[in-house]
């Protein structure tokens, strides 16, 4: 009898735990009911369902430093400018003036309100930028604001907040002084680190950004109504927005599903209106099928997939060996058979979205003849008789199926075309990046995506030998000087010419072997229009609507 009681007892224990856990659902189910009610009203519900993959790291414009946060912030906040049709357009600013030396910008703000009805003032911009630069606020993206005079000095504790070159002259006038003439400054003001923050609220409640609610105020086309961490974010149209008449979507639901196959299934099942880039991912295996069905959308973006050569390690210190390796890659085969997303073979460093002529590039793809010539020359310079005397080269990449396939293909091409032995080595992302940054590699894979729409983004990586992201240990005085001079050039045509010249040097010395330019691929509902995708892989839903 005792035994039976105890069995009963254990069963009850399990059951009660189960029932206790059931309680959590009531709230969510009622939320579902209200959603159904709304659906019936409009003819075509203006509600967008997208996947943003993961939980955003932070929805504070000054703290955000990842693309997911950027996607959300771009809908809820608005900077002085916004990128439309690939060019900066005025947004929170009504007009602006630039001084002759291109270092002082004076913005006139339009009459706009925060979601809680407070007016958006120049003080909000000043507050937000100084907050992000203030070293005690631990902003990782503070360096995006280093273009502002004394921005870096303040961030490094070498100057005071008053010295920073941003000042609210009155409620509607913002004056910005820059460190150097920055021809792309209006691109930068569209970036989220440059967004304003409601200073009235932020000064009172330093935790305002942690959750949705009354305290979370923004000035963009949408407002955040709920944020279930790790699960979903719901945005609704911001009726207080100055351009609310042009915002047609009433609601955006952003779910966080970090699995490309599930994302596509949800799209096929009608649970999502958009699957794939820029907010999510499509499974590579599904791309050919989607393309065949005519559903796949492809757009080039400002990104380059390249191999870096460690120019201080033999034999890669020899420019002819680097040339041989670079020319002997069949990029067309890689993009057609491995990546499958209509990527563009890259024979240049700066993507065609910035330099349209770079679709052709500086050299021929898969130029085996020329590669062999350079190999011969390189071997002679190294004092080697035959390619067999060359010790095997190590090619490193971070662990991922896609990178592995590309590396294997290139290993095969180098072996077949040049007879060079290559060893493959992969490592977990953080371990890999550590090796790369510390120069402990021979050839390493890397991708680079532009932060703003200007070639300097790609070229300045290789300006300084020890400049953070160079990794190749390559430096060229002429290249460096061209980049420094370009920063001061006021004529934009001349400036681009200088940058092209610099790129030509880079593509002649080849501390890097470009492989392909990134594209983004996605599927979407046919009646969804007006989604603004920038060449940087950013998305803006302000003008989006369902037909």
């Amino acid at each position: 009898m005792k035994k039976r009681l105890s069995l009963l007892f254990s069963l009850m224990l399990v059951l009660s735990l189960f029932l206790a856990a059931c309680g959590g659902f009531d709230k969510k189910e009622s939320a579902d009911d209200t959603k159904k009610g709304e659906d019936k009203k409009a003819d075509v519900p203006q509600e967008l369902h997208i996947n943003i993959n993961t939980e955003p790291f932070s929805l504070h414009p000054g703290l955000a430093n990842d693309s997911t946060s950027g996607t959300v912030l771009r809908q809820t906040f608005e900077g002085l400018t916004v990128i439309k049709d690939g060019k900066p357009d005025l947004a929170a600013a009504e007009s602006y003036e630039v001084s002759d030396d291109l270092t002082t910008y004076t913005f006139k703000l339009r009459d706009a309100k925060w979601t809680n009805g407070d007016p958006v003032t120049a003080h909000d911009f000043e507050y937000a930028w100084k907050w992000a630069l203030d070293p005690k606020n631990q902003s990782q993206y503070a360096y995006q604001l280093y273009y502002i005079k004394n921005g870096q000095a303040f961030n490094e504790g070498k100057a005071k907040a008053e010295d920073v070159g941003v000042k609210a002259i009155d409620d509607k006038t913002l004056q910005v002084t820059l460190e150097n003439p920055t021809p792309y400054f209006l691109e930068l003001t569209a970036f989220y680190t440059y967004y304003p923050v409601n200073s009235k609220i932020a000064q009172q409640n330093p935790d305002w950004y942690k959750n949705a609610g009354d305290q979370y105020t923004s000035n963009g086309p949408f407002k955040m109504v709920s944020w279930e961490h790790n699960s979903k974010i719901v945005l609704e149209k911001n009726e207080n927005y100055w351009d609310a008449n042009n915002v047609k979507l009433t609601k955006i639901e952003m779910v966080m599903v970090n699995d490309p196959n599930t994302e596509l299934s949800m799209f096929n099942n009608g649970e999502l209106d958009w699957a794939g880039s820029p907010t999510g991912n499509l499974p590579t295996d599904a791309l050919p099928q989607l393309k065949q069905e005519g559903k796949l959308h492809v757009q080039p973006i400002a990104g380059t997939y390249w191999y870096k050569f460690n120019t201080e390690k033999a034999p890669l210190n020899n420019v002819n060996i680097r040339k041989a390796l670079t020319y002997a890659i069949d990029r067309k085969a890689i993009v057609e058979n491995i990546t499958k997303g209509e990527q563009v073979p890259a024979m240049a460093a700066v993507p065609p979205t910035m330099f349209p002529e770079n679709e052709k590039g500086y050299f021929k793809d898969n130029d085996v003849e020329k590669a062999k010539e350079h190999l011969q020359k390189g071997l002679e310079e190294l004092g080697l008789k035959d390619v067999k005397d060359l010790p095997p080269i190590t090619l490193s990449f971070n662990t991922s199926e896609a990178h592995a396939k590309i590396a294997q293909a290139i290993q095969d091409m180098w072996k077949k075309n040049l007879g060079i032995e290559v060893k493959l080595e992969n490592a977990e992302w953080n371990v890999y990046i550590d090796k790369l940054h510390s120069g402990d590699y021979q050839i390493g894979r890397m991708g680079w995506l532009g932060d703003f729409n200007d070639p300097i983004n790609f070229l300045e990586l290789y300006r300084d030998k020890k400049g953070g992201n160079n990794d190749t240990n390559w430096e060229n005085p002429k290249y460096k000087q061209l980049l420094i001079d370009s920063q001061k050039e006021k004529d934009s045509e001349k400036r681009l010419q200088m940058l092209k010249e610099a790129e030509a040097i880079l593509m002649d010395e080849l501390p890097i072997a470009p492989i392909y330019f990134y594209t983004q691929t996605w599927v979407q509902k046919d009646n969804l229009k007006g989604v603004e995708l920038s060449g940087l892989g950013d998305v803006q839903f302000k003008w989006a609507y369902f037909e």
Partner: protein
């Protein structure tokens, strides 16, 4: 009994301490840090961040500080998710994983035991073969394939369930089944073999001789003894299942705790790594203890306090 539990709790604390120490040092030994990324931070900013999070202090200071705050159940702020503490992440993720885990556990135990008993009672008949074919399939098909299969058939083709996400009870069914498949199959096999063994015992023959019905024999005499191995398997199983499965949560987009186990490591989010490890260890150790206690209750032949310990 109380003395036994007391001693076990002490051992638990000791194991926990060893786990924390090992994790702490292994984690720090891994190259890279929470702020390293594709775009390298300016050194000044990185230095500032390291100072703020105390990563620039000597290891022993960090280690002892960490032990003290864990003792107060404070796991600190997440390095990556600004504005969320590790306690927040656990508090919001665990109930979801727990609910899903319990659902899966109920399915696994219910179905597994039932299948096992049916198979044993119909030894070498078609029911037995059918159940064991199911069990072999269940064990050998990985859960992520099961999950995709369920999604494809039940959600996309038949439209009975939503594909993914965690919104209503309907959303929980597919992931629970996917999570339960492996354990169901395992429990079915365990039950079958121990049931067969029990059925050949003398006391079952006695019961038969007494003229008891088959039903009575099975329910009253056979099952309870046959379940012992299942109970011992339940401990680690439930600890694993209620803290969330990375794969299942990823495929179904479930905001549970499982994803943090893996993502925190690739993010080098030190505090989250420590937090979820400690949390999981506590659950695992507690589950094992509960199982050992349950053992004694179900089968009095196993004495806990004496020289012979349960497992």
């Amino acid at each position: 009994m109380l003395r036994y539990i007391g001693r076990r709790l002490l051992y638990m604390l000791l194991s926990l301490f060893l786990i924390i120490t090992a994790t702490f040092f292994l984690m720090r030994a891994a190259p890279g840090g929470p702020f390293s990324g594709e775009k390298k931070l300016p050194p000044e900013i990185e230095k500032n961040l390291n100072e703020f999070y105390g990563l620039d202090r000597p290891w022993y200071e960090q280690y002892f500080d960490y032990l003290t705050s864990i003792a107060q159940w404070d796991f600190g702020p997440s390095f990556k998710y600004k504005g969320q503490t590790v306690n927040d992440l656990i508090n919001s993720g665990f109930p979801v994983s727990f609910f899903l885990g319990m659902e899966a556990l109920l399915i696994a135990v219910g179905m597994g035991v039932l299948l096992g008993i049916i198979a044993a009672l119909n030894h070498n008949k078609w029911q037995d073969y059918a159940a064991m074919i199911f069990a072999v399939l269940g064990i050998s098909v990985p859960s992520f394939i099961m999950a995709s299969l369920l999604q494809y058939v039940l959600a996309i083709k038949l439209g009975v369930f939503p594909v993914a996400r965690w919104e209503s009870f309907m959303h929980t069914i597919l992931p629970a089944i996917a999570l339960a498949t492996g354990p169901t199959a395992f429990i079915a096999r365990l039950t079958r073999s121990s049931m067969l063994e029990v059925l050949s015992n003398d006391y079952i023959r006695t019961a038969k001789a007494k003229g008891l019905s088959r039903m009575q024999i099975t329910v009253r005499h056979a099952i309870r003894n046959a379940l012992l191995p299942v109970v011992s398997y339940l401990g680690p199983l439930s600890a694993g299942v209620i803290t969330g499965s990375f794969v299942i949560e990823k495929i179904f987009g479930i905001p549970g705790l499982g994803s943090h186990f893996v993502l925190s490591i690739s993010n080098r989010d030190y505090t989250v790594i420590m937090g979820v490890t400690v949390f999981y260890s506590i659950i695992l150790l507690a589950a094992i203890l509960l199982v050992d206690i349950a053992y004694g209750l179900i089968d009095p032949r196993i004495k806990l306090a004496g020289g012979k310990k349960g497992e």
